[in-house]
Amino acid sequence: MATTGSTSDEVLDTDEGVGEADSEIESRVGWRYTLGQVKGDPTALAGLVVICFMSGLAAFATLDAVVFDYLSEYAVFAQFGMRKYWIAETFWISPVKEPLGARRLLPPAPLDNAYGQGTWDHPLGTDDRGRDILVRLVYGSRIAISVGAIATVVGMVGGTVVGAVAGYYGGWVDDVLMRAVETLYAIPFFILVLSFIAVFGRNLAFVMVGVGIASIPTFSRLIRSEVVSVREEDYIEAAEAAGVRDRNIIARHVIPNSFAPVLVQGTLQIGTAILIVAGLSFLGFGVQPPTPSWGQMLSKSRGVMIENVWFSIWPGLCILVTVVAFNMFGDGLRDALDPRLKN
């Protein structure tokens, strides 16, 4: 439908461009419709499946690493033996502890190298301290997904507020806000995040907030231009002419109609944020050892690359697959929400 709707109509010499506008409007109506579009797009669907899988892993890891840790402070739970990495340590292997007598840099299961024969106990091998790579990858997904998502939400909320206010009110409000945003934009993203970390410290929370704040310009510029164009629509003017109050116009017309591209950008931005955070961990900013994260694992692998190539391949692949998934889903979402951009 989206593939052909606009093209087939345009050619029917529609003097008013009915066709094009039609499919655009069609596309903007209803989430159910959007979801239907995404379902019909195998690439987007594949992306969604991977995202769900990774998010599931991350949710599990968060439960085990964060929720249990928090709850274990209460005697009620502690008496069951609840503790950080409770599930992992009870049913599997600890992602953080170096097991006694562990063999370091074991290769993946069937392979053989100078450090020994890989075993199915450690399907992906072990790291430089003898910890199982697979379990660390699983618990590392928590950092990637949560940091990506939280940073994006921070940027999205901040950007939406700034952009919507600037776009709707225009005039000097717009001038001041957008000038500030442009200044922020003039400091390269990564450098801005680095300065942030320099100020507030290297820990995870500040990395998330830093990445979020650094992405505010992207979102605010986007939503501003969207709001400005929605504002030009006649139905906004019609609502004004009917005497609808400003706040109702914004809530009922402006925001719902300008939100779609923000959603798309948000999806893509999660992928970008994951890349950025991985880069920061690689440099040593962000989550600190022994908590596992993909970027940090890559950083550790540098010293032992010759001995064990696998150590540096698995985390990279995890990042790649996750980010590809977000990009595929984001592209599909964009096609569904705005078929004009689909090529």
């Binding site: 052909t4 087939s8 109509d9 010499d13 003097d15 008013e16 009915v18």
Partner: protein, 375 residues
Amino acid sequence: MTDPILEVRDLQTHFFTADGVVRAVDGVSFEVYEEEIVGIVGESGAGKSVAAASIMRLVEDPGEVVGGEVSFKGEPIVEFEETEAGTRRPTDAMLSNREMRERIRGREIAIIFQDPMESLNPVFTVGGQLREFIEINRDVGESEAREIAVEMLREVGIPEPRERLDDYPHQFSGGMRQRVLIAMALSCEPSLIIADEPTTALDVTVEGQILEQVADLQEKYGTSFIWVTHDLGVVAEICDRVNVMYLGQMAEQAAVDALFHDTRHPYTDALLDSLPRPDRTVEELRPIAGVMPEAINPPSGCRFHTRCPDAREVCRQVNPDARDVSESDERPHRAACLKHEDVFHEDYWSSPPIDNETDSGFAVGRTDAGGSGDE
């Protein structure tokens, strides 16, 4: 009468969309003689622009010319033959894409589009674009092409043409840009110019200027025109003969005076009745009932029967082609309406009438799945 320079027979252009096949042009025939202006008129969705593009073989994906014949001065632009399997394929004689490009496009048939802003490339000067097309189609060198361009711009009424050659399209007003496009078409000295709603985007006073100019230039150069428009006023003004299209098919074809004063098709009639007039006060407009059905799912029988005030049961069954209904001594006047019973030999008058309600907007709604414009 001499042979027509352009002959279109049973042309079919379909669009293959995910929702189904849109029969944008479904069996259209007409011809263009030398030194005349032929109008193709119809409302949105009638398929008139697609018909025009099909003549040049410029229909874009997912559209395709799937049947019929177009011949220009004897050369087969579109020609199909049946294969053993019963499918159609282009004949060997049909001009190749290369031949179309080198012999027909620009050189023999030029085109003017509706939107003068979109038709000129914003990053090249007007002179550069004119010159390129002249060089390609007139086999002249750069400096000569430049002279032709200046001359032609002057001809279409652009002041200071030599200076303006180096200007970019955005430095011209809408009317001036449309003049540039007319100059572009004329300067290639084609035999036929297809003008696709060339004055629709313009203001009425500018439109008046351009219509007058085109009439003068047409006389001077003897070029034939196909003038595609939705405006019956423009048709009355400029055309010699008119083809009225409805939903991909021809409704009526006649000389301009006969079309307006001896109308033979209920659609043309209804269209004329629904128009407010500038020259006299019309107290009561008589609109056509309902909306144009979708080309993806056209009504059975006569395409117009769902809205036709004269529709009868037989119109649901039989889809008439446009046949000559003129008295013998007149110029041909073709109409696709069964009420000309002596020509179509269907029992029209004895068939029970269908009641199409007038002045109501809701009888014919759109289906939820509908995606195409339906007006």
